[in-house]
Symmetry: C5
Subunit: 265 residues, 5 copies
């Protein structure tokens, strides 16, 4: 479109402005009342539960594709369901523990505790709805496969998968911050979320739906203690490392206050 | 696009502004003349009928996919047909009972009654067109399967499926309110509508097309009383709960007048 | 994108403005010289012919999909070919008989006659190109199936299918008017056009390509008189009813001059 | 998005402005130094060669789809590869002989000669790269099928296929001129380019890659003289007619200087 | 959208402005502290490693598609995984050796060395994560096939494949620079990256993940010396030629300082 007369506009933030917007969002989260953080955490958890119902309905009920093209089946599972969660959270407003990329002052810990607690309550609400919807038969393929897989890796492997997962999630949040349109925000969410789900990485809040449903429906070997020790603990730690180190620290060095000290520009 | 000289523009509303825009839209709906609400309700119902014809033509006539990959068949049914209804309603203007998220003053009840009545009339018009189009054979797979399913669950299950369905619908409306472009509005509609249809949740206005067509075409077991008691009653109640509680109340607490009282900010 | 400093912009018209823009476009059409209307009608008809070649090449030559998943085959036929026609017409400029939604003053009749005549001439030009391209073998599956189907329904059924078809077409035009971006206009065209083609509804200008090609290539039972009496007459009437009544009258009541009289706001 | 406070913006040109922008672009091309036209023609030709490698890798190597659903195979071949060429040319800047829609003053002939010459040189460079890449085995299915097809039609049929092809190409350029976003430009390119490739129409510059590769790799019956006489001559003539007559003349009558004389408005 | 009152805006840069923006970005890169370049190079390399995990999970694990439609399998591998890398790099900010298109003053060499070194370190970090994730079995199909292919061509063939690859990569960067929206940037990345991956071209940084994983997992014939001599050396040279000659020099001639000397305009 070469239209000299009409003004040029820019609809995406450049990298340094993305960092600054992410830092500002973190400050706003830190200043939020604890109760409101919990409330918006419940909302986010409920969205995870609702969209888990979509994820479990579509991809894991494609045995034809799964047999001959398991890679494609994984991507269908990854693309249809969870990318919408992050979009809903970012567009409508909600607090997702893994999406908060701010660094470590005291005020942020309050946000972490509130969002983690709220997310857990919201996931429990989501599980309650799914368990009472009469639709559990259509979720059983997914629950059986996913809940067992989640507790079957070593602590180290699970930790590393959690670091990788949340690196993708925070990259999605960062890109959605850059995008100034709904379409751009969706591409951002799709890119990061579909990647972590397809590869089979670990996200502590998503697991609060899949593994408890496995425990409650008596999937063999899936117990509360296996969930907490083999999965939730290493995953939560790995998710925190990714968001604090891989994104917040690195980009503060590149575009923020750490960088001003180090590069002396 | 790092183009320092050109102005940055934002094409999506932030969460608090989405809440405010949704609240404003609710106030405008409450102030609308009753007859106009009914008229625009008829329009919305007719769009449901028209797009139901598309839904019934495509997805339910894919037996090959349905046998080997039922999850994918559900998503095709969900993605092709009904997401366009909500887009038409929001872009061209129409009143959908389940989309009005405003809370409970008297003026709103008038809108609820008018849109529910209009939607029912519009769905009847839609059914009339489909029944006289000569195309009923191509709709029969869908009518047989859907109308029976809709009356086969318990009151509690149907109620819960209706809560989940309209949570998704209102999330779609909310996101479409945030989106300031047609592309963004389509993504919003697709995300929420495809989710509720694929999972098999319950939407009272959509059911006003599928189940009556089952009654009229003598699908075994599908009767008017089964429709009203097993389906329309619990679904209408569940849809109302979702829009009033899950969205309007929660986001008023987060960004609106309820929040101002509770968090005292 | 929460970027307080940058200005918010809106890239889609709200419903009342869409109505006003459609009314303005109708007034401009009515004022156009008759010869220019015919010329731009020829252009539109030629685009129908060109894109019919795409439609006939792709979808109807997918027998594998058609056997096991006829619903999907219909949607492929519907999505690849004709949505581009409407986009070309709206973006580059052309006069399509079925797309003019203005109501009934004398000046508008001139536009109707001019665009109908021009569309017929343009479709004849399109047929001439296809018949002399050496590509007729690849179009024969489509011509055989479509031309027979078009003349096989009763007058009433064909009329109703024409009402439904043009309701979708005008909904597409209306949404494209709301969209202020090319991407949005494409979604608008895709939503309405793919719906009417997939369901198998009736559009008088499109039929000016498919059925004449059936007559010329001696498809059994497809004659000029069958085309005019069984198809073109009821379809043209149904198309007119849809655009004049379903859209123009309804939205004038909701947002225009009729509404000002009726609701006295 | 009903957001009264924020300003409405328009991101697509209306038809008359598209014509004017296309005319302005033609004037700028006419004023370009001859050597620069040749250079940018070489660039465009090289892009054709690069993207031909993509086209030949994907679609023609799908024998499974090609056997049961040849229509779909044609569309895959058409959608993956060449739409990107036009996007690269329009976005990054390059001169494509078939894309210049300006009418016939002397200055324009210079642009025609320069771009045709440059395109031929660029296609030769593209062929050189492909022939020396070690990847010829993966291109052989495409080269064998396409190069024979291109020389197998009569002069009249090839000429008509060339008129239709470039009508689509220029419609793509015209729509891309209207689009003021990258997404819109891609839709424009996809609509026109995928149509002409899927139908099997004729584009003189694209053929400068496919047929010479057939000659060089000794595809039976594919000779330089067959290329020049059976294909390049009628295709070049048909391409010129489409761009000069179907678009430039028609839209000058509708929105430009010819129209001012004819309609006396 | 014909909406005369609202202002027209342009959301994509015209070619000459794209060149200028790319040149400005190159100057900014040249002025960056060396340590920061290495840091942002590590980030880019890590993104390559993360997205390689997605690429290896999906496409290469589709044996059903690969047998009957190898072209489609190649495109799935190409479209799902690496286009996201370039988007992450451009949107969040990172330094990719192959993406820097600036020409050859001394300051640029520093950027080249820093980004190449950083990319190598980041790829090593990526490999470390993949090797310790417990997910290596799902990557083995890809590693076995890709690492052997990469070392099996002659120096000349590999060099030419590297020229073609980076021509596509830089075309993607250039188009993303033109795009002023996230959606447009994604189309830019998808067009160039999917092309080079599907065709099987050579990108030195991507190969720093695939081939070392082949060496480490003892793929027969894949050795460090084969990697460095048969692949990394010719690929790095070819990548440099493409970015320096095919884009920077050509467009400086067309729109920049070289052009001002040559065409004397």
């Amino acid at each position: 479109g070469d239209n000299g007369a009409a003004p040029q506009v820019v609809g995406v933030l450049p990298p340094a402005a993305v960092y600054q917007a992410a830092a500002n969002a973190g400050a706003a989260k830190a200043a939020m009342p604890f109760g409101k953080t919990v409330l918006l955490g419940v909302v986010a958890g409920a969205y995870v539960g609702l969209c888990a119902a979509l994820l479990m309905t579509v991809g894991p009920n494609c045995p034809g594709i799964g047999q001959s093209n398991p890679g494609l089946a994984k991507y269908i599972t990854a693309a249809i369901g969870f990318p919408f969660v992050l979009l809903m959270i970012l567009v409508c407003g909600a607090e997702l523990f893994t999406g908060n990329t701010a660094m470590l002052p005291a005020a942020v810990y309050k946000n972490w505790v509130g969002s983690y607690l709220g997310n857990a309550l919201g996931c429990a609400l989501g599980c309650f709805l799914l368990l009472n919807s009469g639709l559990m038969p259509q979720f059983s393929n997914a629950i059986n496969a996913i809940s067992v897989t989640k507790i079957s890796y070593s602590f180290k492997e699970t930790f590393i998968k959690a670091v990788m997962a949340n690196w993708f999630v925070v990259l999605a949040v960062w890109q959605a911050t850059a995008a100034q349109t709904m379409g751009g925000m969706f591409i951002a969410c799709l890119s990061g979320i579909s990647a972590f789900v397809a590869i089979g990485l670990e996200h502590c809040i998503a697991n609060m739906v899949f593994v408890p449903l496995g425990v409650i429906t008596d999937v063999p070997g899936v117990t509360w203690s296996a969930f907490f020790l083999n999965n939730l603990l290493p995953v939560t730690l790995g998710n925190i490392v990714a968001r604090a180190l891989c994104m917040a620290t690195v980009y503060s060095l590149a575009y923020g206050s750490l960088g001003k000290k180090v590069w002396k520009q």
